[in-house]
């Protein structure tokens, strides 16, 4: 028996019209959570169409299994938030199809909304209500009776360390508390699929770790979780499978271990030079022990099994090419080095 996928997309594409010269500033000045459009349209992000339109998503095919902990990894503008906004019915795809929890996101959007929970990038609690009311009213929008909602709200507040803050206006909560409240809210109606859009951005390390525990716990209970992040470590530690997105395209999709195995061999040695690195790349590649060397502007990227043995030779080659070495950075094989080898860019 083939398990029914929780999420399936086919040739999903999203194109935003070319920004006009006089676009109202509210849409570009503030990345909007939930339906965050303009993070995907940041200058230089996404692809550009022939008329200057922004291609945020270019033919995405994904299949996420029920009960899976799935990560969407990529830098800002990769298309992560656009993907989430389409899958949560908050954005319409330009073309292609997406089915979430058995319902089509365009034709049966209300049915999709009933089965999903969404934690936005930036907490957007209802500031006119208390923390407890946020949860109970949210449940009422899903047709849940007041008694059931009240009991569940008490439990969730306790579980998220907010038991004593139930009566507080949400404006009085700290950023971390608000983010936890957003997760509690998303769980109020017991969703089958939970979407979290960069949930740990701006959280202190302790709160982040606590949040990871909660997510692992939810996953253990059979919830399907889709998480976007640009933190490699987060994706690596939590997700069963990771899709790496860049400029609206799917670059790689595998388990963290599988992805790391695909990272180029050896440690990445990144050497920053005082000018264009192109003149030094051939010499660097010839240094004994070097597996591969490539130049990108002032950056020389070299992969080597034993970086300690090649650094002296590399510095010599750079100086021979008339360049001064400004900085040397070592990165062991990881998702980070894979990402750099796939895109030529760093994640953060």
């Amino acid at each position: 028996m083939t398990p029914v996928p929780a999420i399936r997309t086919a040739a999903l594409r999203k194109v935003y019209p070319a920004p006009k010269a006089r676009r109202p500033s509210y849409s570009s000045a503030f990345p909007i959570s939930g339906g965050a459009v303009w993070t995907g349209a940041a200058p230089g992000a996404g692809g550009r169409g022939p008329n200057g339109e922004i291609v945020a998503l270019e033919g995405l095919d994904l299949e996420i299994r029920a009960g899976e902990f799935f990560g969407l990894l990529g830098p800002n503008g990769a298309g992560k938030t656009t993907t989430i906004s389409i899958l949560t019915t908050r954005g319409e795809p330009t073309s292609g199809q997406a089915v979430v929890a058995g319902a089509d996101v365009v034709r049966e959007s209300a049915a999709v909304r009933q089965r999903i929970g969404v934690v936005p990038q930036r907490p957007n609690p209802d500031r006119s209500l208390t923390a407890w009311e946020n949860l109970v009213f949210h449940a009422s929008y899903f047709g849940i009776t007041h008694a059931a909602a009240a009991a569940r709200a008490d439990r969730l507040l306790a579980a998220f360390g907010l038991a004593d803050r139930g009566g507080s206006k949400v404006g009085e909560l700290s950023g971390g508390q608000q983010q936890r409240l957003m997760i509690a809210r998303a769980l109020m109606h017991d969703p089958e699929v939970l979407f979290l859009d960069e949930p740990t951005v701006g959280l202190d390390p302790q709160t982040r770790l606590a949040l990871w525990d909660v997510l692992r716990d939810l996953h253990a209970r059979g919830h399907t979780i889709v998480l976007t992040t640009h933190y490699m470590e987060e994706a690596d530690r939590l997700c069963e499978r990771i899709a790496i997105l860049d400029r609206g395209r799917l670059l790689a999709l595998d388990t963290p271990a599988g992805l790391k195995a695909r990272a180029p061999g050896g440690t990445l040695v990144e050497i920053t030079l005082d000018a264009d690195a192109g003149v030094a790349s051939a010499g660097a590649a010839a240094v004994p022990g070097v597996l591969r060397a490539e130049a990108q502007r002032q950056l020389l990227r070299v992969y080597a099994e034993r970086p300690g043995e090649v650094i002296a030779g590399l510095v010599r080659e750079c100086e021979r090419a008339g360049r001064a070495v400004l900085n040397i950075h070592l990165a062991p094989p990881s998702l980070e080095t894979l990402f750099i080898s796939l895109t030529g860019r760093s994640l953060e």
């Binding site: 909007i32 929008y141 109606h189 017991d190």
Partner: protein, 271 residues
Amino acid sequence: MTALHLEPLERPARVSEALVFWALLRRDLRVARRELPAVLVRVALQPILFVTVFGALLPRMGFVQRSYGAALLPGILAISLAMSSIQSVALPMVADFGWTREIEDRLLAPVPISLVALEKVIFGVVQGTIAALFVLPIARLIMGPIAGLTVAHAGEVLTVTILGAASFSLLGLLIGTAISPQQIGLMFSVIIAPMIFFGCAYYPWKGLAVAPALQYAVLVNPLVYVSEGMRGALTPALPHMGLPVVMLALAVICALCWYFGFRAFVRRAMS
């Protein structure tokens, strides 16, 4: 944080739209009740100041005829209900779409998005109606006896009130989806102020015969019909438009704002 102990929830297989609508309305009523004193001050203070000066003080000083109060009162009610309805819909919406995105949790409710807009409009009607009913006795108290004021046509007063509140709530929906937070100040000086001064609130429409071009130009202003309708229902002895004309005009305004307002809302709500 402690471990989660959550039982699976009994969820209705299909959520009743009426139930969700009621939940949305309850949320707005809860917030309004909490902010009631501030809401009432916002709704009533300006009309009270206005009737104090123009309905009570100036007539006693002899600068204005005493009969002016009868022309003024229906207009003041019209302004109160119009401002209350338009603000209760437009102001939170501008903030929601422009910056806070607080409405997002309601847009994620398992119902059509337009139901969220409909609830906002109905709530605006409730607020506008309450505003008019709240200001009427206060204004009457300040101004003293008003010649020709009658509550014999209470049904007509209520009909004009509700239809007027609906027009301005729907107008608020249109404005709330069209402008950005930075433009709110501009909205008051460019849209609201001319609407009030050329809304036949301070004088009957017939009086504008002194400036015929203006008399016809103001017919695009929805406030004209609410003011004239209030006059027809509360002080029928004064010159006023026929109630059928008023009702028809308000119905047309409702239909237009409904069509464009809901489209704009859905467009703004989707990214």
